[in-house]
């Protein structure tokens, strides 16, 4: 059984630099994935992941373990993504919508062209709907739905109370459902109510 994140952080703080390599290998894909969902660009996602680990490494001595390492890392990455989104809005050169449309490989290859097309349409509709959300709702939904963080981890990553996370999530889900229903997405239609 490998060492936990916290043990690796302690080892790194004690001078074992190679321990940080293990942390990078463990979290790089997930951090990059989150950044991609926030930004819609693989290139930028790679940059953000790299920058996030660099920042984390430099600030590791100041990490007191009050939050989980992963939450701290997500916090750094989320802030970097926010910065980029703000700069993007300021420059107004690239829109998320434009980036969303450039992703032919966004859906896993599955047998059946028709099924694949439906999946692709649904995926694009979901992406559009998520990127149209307010930033605070989008962050919570991405971290919860795709990064599978717990409510507590999200609260630590975003530095907000757990109840705020749940409120943002609930509202975000409601917004998403409305947007997808408006686009005529299949499963967003209400199902027959059944007893739990």
């Amino acid at each position: 059984m490998g060492r936990s994140d916290e043990e690796l952080v302690e080892a790194c703080q004690a001078g074992e630099a190679s321990a940080f390599d293990v942390l990078v290998a463990r979290w790089e894909d997930r951090i990059r994935g989150a950044a991609f969902r926030f930004l819609g660009s693989e290139e930028e996602a790679r940059d953000v992941a790299q920058e996030a680990f660099l920042k984390a490494y430099r600030a590791l001595d100041g990490f007191k373990g009050e939050a989980r390492f992963s939450s701290w890392l997500y916090q750094i990455a989320t802030n970097l993504c926010r910065d980029r989104l703000r700069r993007r809005k300021t420059r107004a050169t690239v829109s998320l919508e434009a980036l969303e449309e450039t992703g032919p490989g966004m859906v896993e290859m599955r047998p059946g062209a028709h099924e694949r097309l439906l999946e692709r349409d649904l995926a694009q509709a979901v992406r559009r709907a998520i990127h149209a959300l307010p930033e605070e709702q989008r962050e919570v939904i991405i971290l919860k739905e795709y990064q599978e963080l717990t409510f507590l981890e999200i609260a630590q990553a975003l530095d907000v109370p757990v109840s705020t996370v749940k409120t943002r999530l609930y509202r975000g889900l409601g917004q998403l459902r409305l947007r997808l229903e408006r686009e005529g997405v299949r499963s967003a239609a209400p199902l027959p109510a059944t007893a739990p």
Partner: protein, 218 residues
């Protein structure tokens, strides 16, 4: 029909916990009890679950190498092309290696022969040096040679000087003799003219005076 607990944040948080599998037993029991008696909330939970299924459709681009550094699956045609290219490259590499090897062997042989020739030449020079007679005192030899050269130069200069002086004496003697002959001829000519014209005599005498004067100056 709306839920009578609309706006109940506790219930809403509990529903979120249940929806994402984070509810403890107490919260789960509380939410399920409410859902059992509230069609609106049952419908809401069903919609949220359906929505979560839709959200799962947005996947990361698994086909892109940047997100799949390990275990990338190549198309067959690409793999075949890569193998062909690899084979071609390997053939080129082997051929190149063999050619290079041959060239290196030939170059090495040439270098060895050249080295052998140089070594033999050096040995011959060393042997010649060993067989050479005892070295002379070059400084003394040079001094003696210089002295002989100086002596010869001095003798030569002396000889040349004597010859030059002798030539000058001879030339002066010849010049004096010639002057006397000329004077004699002039005197003979004057004596011939002496008997012919009295007026010409004074003229001739004057002329002779100039001639004598000029010849003495020379």
């Amino acid at each position: 029909m709306d839920c009578e607990r609309v706006g109940d944040e506790g219930l809403r948080d509990g529903m979120m916990d249940v929806l994402y599998g984070e509810a403890d037993a107490a919260v789960r029991a509380c939410v399920e009890e409410h859902l059992a008696g509230c069609p609106a909330c049952r419908e809401e939970m069903a919609r949220l679950r359906a929505l979560r299924r839709d959200l799962a459709a947005w996947r990361l681009p698994v086909a892109r190498p940047s997100f799949t550094p390990r275990g990338v699956v190549l198309p067959r045609w690409l793999a075949a092309a890569a193998l062909l290219l690899l084979g071609f490259g390997a053939t080129l590499g082997v051929t190149g290696y063999v050619s290079l090897r041959h060239a290196l062997v030939a170059q090495e042989a040439r270098a060895s022969a050249l080295e052998r020739q140089h070594r033999e030449a050096v040995q011959a020079l060393a042997a010649a040096r060993e067989n050479r007679p005892v070295a002379l005192d070059t400084a003394a030899l040079l001094a003696s040679l210089d002295a002989r050269i100086d002596e010869r130069l001095r003798a030569n200069e002396s000889r040349q000087g004597e010859r030059l002086e002798q030539r000058l004496v001879d030339w002066e003697e010849r010049a004096e003799a010639q002057r006397r002959v000329d004077m004699a001829r002039v005197a003979a000519s004057l004596s011939y003219l002496d008997g012919r014209h009295g007026q010409q005599l004074a003229r001739t005498n004057e002329l002779m005076g100039y001639v004598l004067e000029a010849s003495q100056k020379r």
